[in-house]
């Protein structure tokens, strides 16, 4: 299947350009609609959160109290940090108004007073683009007091992070925005949902950049129109942007309709480069790795991709060719989670550290046969036991790698070197040669 471009169809950095492609018409339309009708359209569309978890968007929108007793907030999660993902970056850089318009529609529907867009501080191009778009919107009276004579006030601020993957987790993002260490907060059933008590204990709607960007299209064309896309899947509607990278000829963002085959996505990205396809991480580093056989079978959809044992995640799709050492790849993955663990809970803090140390020992040639079982058990002790999803995400890739590529671990442990013994594979190691212990 070819690309189906919706969010990535145009590049429109300025308000003028954005207006030329019909920008803010959806917002005008929403302002004329009943608030509940806006939420109902989102419900009809079947839109699910594009940040990674795939939670139905309308439930969040609908969860904000209709009777307002406190200030309401809208928070856009633009702390894109999942390894392999760069879709939000492009959305913000190329068409920032699309995201802002989505936030404004959400703000209108949930009676919000203030919106924040939390961008990771590394993304300065995004930050500058969004900031200048917000300035334009203020200048045109799209933001600020009494917007378009509706009596509705809505302010939108850019808030930049300072280097933390964990802040992409929605409750950690709230902590960070409120000036704290980016540690996750209690969630239901331990605490009220953010839609009831989020930022500063007030109702807060949190969505990913891509999710917000979908809203104008849904409002403009109707939920049914949106839901017609991806109809071949069980419960995934619309389009999804996949960031394709790794050993492909044309890395980049590709927007496809749900129901597209994973192999088609690879084709769109110019096919595999430098050797035969070996593996794929379809949805960002947190999701289980697939081998070439599974890639051939996989259909993209929240439930469909589960059939081959992985997830849509954030859409960070990395393809690997035959020169890839899976153990080294998992070593780097473990390092990522170890360095990004916030330290709040024991399983993640200690477990990710331990997982990395074992991998480090293995790739230095000091693996022991019992390490495989140990790794599995450590993962089991982290998965589902950590405070937030980061711990689970640290365990899943390793569990999957041990399941899909067990022989690579066994070989490495037995021989002190990778089963993939090619010059290209050596690139993956920080140490020129694995040092035997």
């Amino acid at each position: 299947m070819p690309e189906l471009k919706l969010l990535l169809k145009h590049k429109a950095r300025t308000l003028d350009e954005y207006r030329r492609i019909g920008g803010y018409a959806a917002f005008q339309k929403a302002l004329a609609m009943d608030r509940q009708a806006v939420i109902d359209e989102i419900k009809k569309s079947g839109l699910r959160g594009r940040g990674g978890a795939g939670f139905p968007t309308w439930i969040k929108w609908n969860g904000i109290p209709k009777q307002k007793t406190k200030r309401h907030y809208v928070l856009c999660n633009a702390d894109e940090g999942e390894p392999g993902t760069f879709k939000d970056k492009e959305l913000m850089e190329s068409t920032p108004h699309q995201v802002i318009e989505g936030m404004m529609i959400a703000g209108w529907a949930t009676q919000a007073d203030v919106g924040y867009i939390y961008i990771r501080a590394e993304f300065m191009d995004c930050a500058r683009a969004v900031k200048s778009a917000i300035d334009e919107a203020y200048a045109e009276g799209l933001l600020g007091k009494n917007i378009q004579g509706t009596g509705w006030d809505f302010d939108l601020h850019v808030h930049l992070g300072a280097g933390s993957y964990e802040c992409g987790e929605e409750s950690a993002m709230m902590s960070s925005l409120m000036g704290e260490r980016g540690m996750p907060r209690l969630k239901a059933p331990h605490a009220p949902l953010p839609t009831i008590a989020g930022l500063w204990d007030s109702p807060t709607l949190i969505n990913n950049v891509e999710t917000f960007a979908c809203a104008p299209h849904i409002i403009q064309n109707g939920g049914d129109w949106y839901a017609a896309m991806g109809a071949s899947t069980k419960n995934s509607r619309g389009t999804k942007i996949f960031s394709v990278s790794g050993h492909v000829n044309k890395p980049g963002n590709y927007e496809i309709e749900f129901g597209t085959k994973l192999s088609d996505l690879l084709e769109l990205a110019g096919g595999i480069k430098g050797g035969a396809l070996k593996a794929c991480i379809p949805g960002g580093s947190s999701v289980p790795i697939l081998n070439a056989e599974s890639v051939a079978k996989a259909v993209i959809g929240y439930e469909e991709i589960g059939e081959v044992g992985s997830m849509v995640g954030s859409g960070g799709c990395i393809f690997f060719n035959e020169h890839t050492c899976i153990v080294a790849l998992m070593w780097r993955t473990a390092k990522f989670y170890m360095r990004e663990s916030c330290g709040k809970c024991t399983p993640c803090r200690e477990g990710t550290d331990w997982l990395f140390q074992i991998h480090d020992r293995i790739i230095k040639g000091g693996g022991r046969p019992e390490d495989i079982n140990l790794l599995k058990q450590i993962c089991a002790q982290i998965d589902g036991r950590s405070f937030c999803g980061l711990g689970d995400a640290a365990a899943w890739p390793i569990v999957a790698a041990l399941k899909v590529f067990p022989h690579e671990y066994e070989y490495f442990i037995q021989h002190g070197k990778s089963i993939v013994d090619t010059p290209q594979s050596k690139l993956m190691f920080p140490y020129a040669e694995p040092v035997p212990v």
Partner: protein, 711 residues
């Protein structure tokens, strides 16, 4: 099992197959205790907000469906953060839960040094205990353990061992949530996360000792207690702290007749379970090597050991029927029974009214005090009530120093429901950070500051025209008016008697009482004492009471020769009175000086007779704290040498002067106190088990204003 009939506010939950009703929202970790079961914990502390960090308390959780089946949640949940809701099903003993606990403990132990044999926490360590009950017996960790600084002196009291830390955050949360000084924070993240002070500067807190107690491992240890004892070598006895007038319940750990450490003891009415550093680290005098063990009598220029009989003889010779030429001064750590008997001895046998327990610069007489001028009681509010106040006016010295437990409760009121607090002080105080308004005045200008605020408060109110008129000369500024906003309705006033040490202290107190009376807040007015049993001494009338001389007059009397014999009971005037020269002149000049003390002091060098008496841990007795709670302290160890309980000493002297039925037990003295003053009736010894008994508060005679202070 049939469901129990549901009471309002309760929900029915099932724990390990047993159905029970618990208050809605109660944390599962607490509900489980109702069945006599326990969920192991590290980070959870019942007096702090639950955080669910350590994951030790993971349990399996499900919801009972209408059809009777149970739908289990896919992941185990932290019992310390999970609120009870109807139909909740909790499993605390399944194989999976047991495996989870083993997993968490294995993680905690991979980087924990197994230096238990040299760790102060060994033997009373939650990590040791939980490992023993729930943990793995061996480790699978073959990597290099984390190495971090050990035995780092974080303050004079607290030593930090970062290798032992299990990052539960209890200490950090204590300084943020409870003490409010936010001195500790987690630095770095992930496995490198450690609690520290800013740039490792001094842990400068009035409550730092608590972090030692709540640390579930030996990461924060007491610098004083380090390597002094193992927990199993200690004898632990309940006691009450006498370092201030709050009367906190403590555990008193001793070994071989030496005090080894003080820990907080749960008492929800007073200190919850906290201690202040003054109390926790302030009992060193009990271990002083040179505590008097025998009566000493001055022969020529030297104090020489003597027997009691000779000492008594001399005392009787100088004091009996001494009338106005004899006087007694009393310290703060003297029990009600001792005070009562001391006073009886002075009144009945010496026929002298010259007694005082007060050491502040200003010593109001009965007609000049709050009761005399304003017709209201000094105290109206119990310690625990402070956590539910909505507005408060805090005046004078740092509340956290003078009344640490009132401070903690007031802070809780702010934290829990946003109580509005106005602070008026000359120097920065602990309460500043949560006060909605802080009025910082110059030294010696407290009275003016209170008067200006009073004027601002009255601007918003009806009535009290006379007071408003009297306050005309005190024009409030914008800051006063902003502060007055917080005091629009009902508000509580708290001030300590330490304010009497300031030149304008008397006027300040009166101005506060006027403000309280003028705004119908008289029943919320409090002037708390500061010394341990100052309240008892005041209630028992250990003061001149209109006829005798007060502390100042007694000292002057000694200098002028009007006072021939002076008795110092557990007090060192050099430490207590502001004018050292005056003390020195008085003690040098007085003919006969009795120094009765449990610890060596500076006054001893002027003594004619030194009488060794028991410290509070060596004799039974009762003490009355700021909220008039009478608490009994029992003797913990034997007296030093020949030292006697003070009441016994007085009883023996009185028998010499007038043979009558002796008194054998302090409880008899309490009965006599009650017979004399029936407001002490609640304090009969049989009522004092547990947390003691409270005497009436807020005995008002009819509130009135006193305007002359404004002229």
């Amino acid at each position: 099992m049939a469901s129990l009939a549901q009471e309002p506010g309760l929900v029915t939950i099932t724990i390990d197959g047993t159905e029970l009703q618990v208050p809605k929202g109660e944390l599962v970790v607490e509900s489980v205790k109702r069945l006599g079961r326990e969920i192991p914990i590290f980070c959870y502390h019942p007096r702090m907000k639950p955080v669910g960090m350590c994951r030790m308390c993971l349990v399996e959780v499900g919801m009972k469906q209408p059809d009777g089946t149970v739908r289990m949640m896919p992941k185990p949940q932290a019992g310390c953060t999970l609120p009870a809701s109807d139909n909740l099903v909790v499993i605390t003993d399944s194989e999976s839960v047991i495996a989870d606990r083993r997993g968490v403990l294995e993680f905690l132990l991979i980087n924990h040094p197994l230096d238990c044999p040299i760790c102060d926490r060994g033997g009373e360590c939650p990590l040791q205990n939980n490992t023993l009950f729930y943990g793995p017996s061996t480790t699978r960790y073959v990597e290099v353990k984390r190495h971090l600084p050990k035995a780092f002196p974080l303050s004079r009291h607290v030593t930090l061992d970062l290798e032992r830390c299990i990052q539960c955050g209890r200490c950090v949360r204590f300084t943020e949530e409870i003490s409010g000084d936010a001195q500790l924070a987690f630095l770095f993240r992930g496995a490198a996360m450690t609690p520290r002070t800013f740039e490792l500067t001094d842990l400068d807190s009035k409550f730092s000792g608590n972090v030692i107690e709540i640390c579930p491992v030996g990461a924060l240890t007491s610098s004083d207690y380090r390597f002094r004892a193992r927990p199993w070598d200690l004898e632990t006895r309940p006691s009450t702290c006498l370092e201030c007038a709050n009367g906190c319940s403590v555990w008193f750990d001793h070994r071989g007749g030496k005090m080894v450490r003080i820990n907080g003891r749960v008492n929800d009415a007073v200190n919850e379970e906290w201690t202040c550093d003054k109390g926790k680290f302030g009992h060193g005098y009990l271990n002083a090597p040179d505590r008097p063990a025998k009566p000493l009598i001055r022969k020529e220029d030297v104090l020489a050991a003597a027997d009691w009989s000779t000492a008594y003889q001399q005392i009787v010779a100088h004091f009996e029927d001494g009338r106005t030429a004899v006087a007694g001064l009393v310290g703060a750590k003297v029990s009600n029974e001792d005070l009562f008997q001391f006073k009886r001895m002075f009144h009945r046998h010496f026929h002298s009214p010259n007694l005082d327990h007060r050491w502040t610069r200003i010593l109001p007489s009965q007609t000049e005090g709050v009761r005399g001028l304003h017709g209201i009681d000094e105290v109206h509010t119990r310690i625990a009530e402070w956590e539910s106040v909505n507005a408060a006016l805090v005046v004078g010295n740092d509340l956290a120093s003078d009344q640490p437990m009132v401070y903690l409760r007031l802070r809780k009121a702010w934290q829990r429901h946003g109580a509005k607090v106005v602070v008026i002080s000359e120097r920065p105080t602990y309460a500043d950070h949560f006060a909605s308004a802080v009025i910082r005045c110059e030294e010696g200008k407290l009275f003016e500051a209170v008067a200006r605020l009073s004027a601002a408060v009255l601007q918003n109110r009806e009535g009290a025209d006379a007071l408003r008129a009297a306050l005309k000369p005190f024009a409030p500024d914008a800051k006063d008016r902003a502060a007055a906003e917080a005091l629009k309705g009902e508000f509580f006033t708290v001030c300590s008697e330490s304010v009497y040490a300031k030149p304008d202290g008397g006027k300040t107190v009166s101005a506060l009482a006027n403000l309280a009376v003028g705004t119908d807040n008289a029943q919320r007015f409090n002037l708390y004492p500061v010394g341990a049993n100052d309240m008892g001494a005041a209630l028992l009338g250990v003061h001149p009471g209109g006829q005798g001389m007060n502390t100042r007059e007694i000292l002057e009397g000694c200098i002028q020769g009007r006072i021939k014999s002076l008795w110092l009971l557990e007090c060192d005037p050099f430490a207590l009175w502001h004018d050292h020269q005056q003390v020195q002149d008085a003690l040098e000049n007085v003919e006969f000086l009795v120094v009765q003390t449990s610890a060596p002091n500076q006054a001893m060098q002027y003594a004619s007779v030194v009488l060794p008496c028991c410290a509070h841990v060596e004799a039974d007795g009762t003490y009355t704290n700021i909220e008039r709670r009478v608490q009994k302290i029992e003797a913990i160890w034997r007296p030093k040498g020949d030292a006697k309980p003070s009441w016994k000493l007085f009883t023996e002297l009185m028998l010499r002067m007038n043979p009558s039925r002796p008194i054998f037990e302090p409880s008899e003295l309490m009965e006599m106190i009650i017979a004399e003053d029936e407001s002490f009736a609640p304090a009969a010894y049989h009522n004092l088990e547990g947390n003691g008994a409270c005497l009436p508060l807020g005995v008002d005679a009819g509130a009135q204003l006193f305007m002359e202070i404004y002229q």
